[in-house]
Assembly symmetry: C2
Homo-oligomer: 223 residues x 2
DNA sequence: CAAAAATAATAGTATTACTATCAATATTGC
DNA sequence: GCAATATTGATAGTAATACTATTATTTTTG
């Protein structure tokens, strides 16, 4: 993602925030240091008060952007998946072969994230760690269904649907394209977690990547 | 699991609790109604105070069994996976064919749970819902590594290792037995969640089960 | 039946996740 | 350049959480 895209903005659904954090300097700092602080101390210990201290601002000011820390997490995950979706669409659009497209798509959702200088206030590497460690907390709640209706998880579902469609493009008769796509997307996060914490139940490590595993799994499954 | 096993006890690592909840009436009530209350209001809203009110006991008494609600969750997930492991070992031991064994094992970790009358104070159906909705919160914490060293996740890892070994028994050359086993185990929980909340990104529903999907995925992957 | 163990009751603490109010500062529109 | 408006900051307050500590009461058991 080089400079030609420098005025690109990742679109996050408006009802997730009270005030668009992209619209002001304070908003951007909330997102920038919010990512760093959650990465540092974990989402459970993270509070708006601590974030306020970190950015020399006031707790009450942060509440004007996000109703709760939960909403901030939903915002960050939406941003992340929209960013991944953008890379996926961009990287696959001119590939001639459907299987190649699918392989590329799997690579993009499962690979280790590298810093993207297009969005200067977002540390994508730290954000990726947050997605691995915390993103499931954004939907494992009692009000998933209500929030889902409000469109909070739209981007994520759209990304999975795109991969599902790519699977069908390779094999229109495959019976489980959506389940396979969601297994790849969530499973990759899980494999990254396992290689960091529960090494004995994964084969992924410095030389075997989750990408390799999921590409092989997928191609064998749908052929 | 019929009556011949009526004095069976599921073994949960001793350092998870302060006092064995199986050792007293109050302990069993804590587990029994803890499951029901977490299932009812969700783990995030669950407190020992509320549980105390439900079982007509005191908050402070519950703290003598479990240091925190987090430890109770770790206990419940350990109990659950030990129970699944027991079913898996029991159901596969006399099968002659390795592929049949593996299919049976996958069925057991991915299927919808039915009530098991062997453990009268445990509602396995409610516990299964807790595993689907809350179990990842037991390890997505800042102290996973410390707790892992203490053996909190031993049962879970042993179960995944068993499945991994069964995969190898079918195909000793398969390169990713552990990753596949962990993907099946965690992926099944995820598919159950999706069919309840994000239907559009799964193919699982009343007629297509996660078991069917994962059996087919696995056999295609390792053949 | 006494001693020990388990449970209950009460109180207390620091922190969390906010809301409300008012003051200070910055921005903009004319 | 200044008034109106919007934004941010400061302070205070609240109910609930996640505990710990202490003491009283009840139950168990040797």
């Amino acid at each position: 993602m080089i400079n030609l895209l420098s005025n690109l903005k990742i679109a996050v659904s408006e009802n997730i925030y009270l005030k668009d954090p992209e619209s002001s300097d304070l908003g951007k700092r909330i997102v920038e240091y919010g990512i760093l602080l959650i990465d540092e101390i974990g989402f459970d210990s993270f509070t708006f008060k601590k974030l306020g201290a970190k950015i020399d601002s006031n707790e009450s000011s942060i509440y004007r952007y996000f109703e709760s820390k939960h909403k901030l997490l939903v915002y960050l995950t939406s941003w992340y998946w929209a960013w991944i979706e953008y890379q996926l669409v961009f990287a696959t659009q001119n590939l001639p072969d459907e299987e190649q497209k699918l392989k590329k798509a799997i690579d993009i959702v499962t690979r280790v994230v590298k810093q993207d200088s297009t969005f200067s206030h977002i540390n994508e590497v730290a954000l990726n760690r947050i997605i691995i460690n915390e993103s499931s907390k954004s939907y494992l709640t009692t009000d998933v269904d209500a929030e889902n209706k409000e469109g909070y998880f739209k981007v994520y579902k759209r990304l999975v649907s795109r991969i599902s469609q790519m699977i069908l493009n390779v094999n229109p008769d495959f019976k489980y394209p959506s389940s396979l796509a969601s297994t790849i997307t969530e499973g990759a996060l899980h494999q990254h977690f396992l290689k960091d914490h529960f090494k004995s139940i994964t084969d992924c490590n410095d030389s075997v990547s989750p990408s390799e595993f999921f590409v092989e799994l997928t191609l064998n499954a749908i052929r």
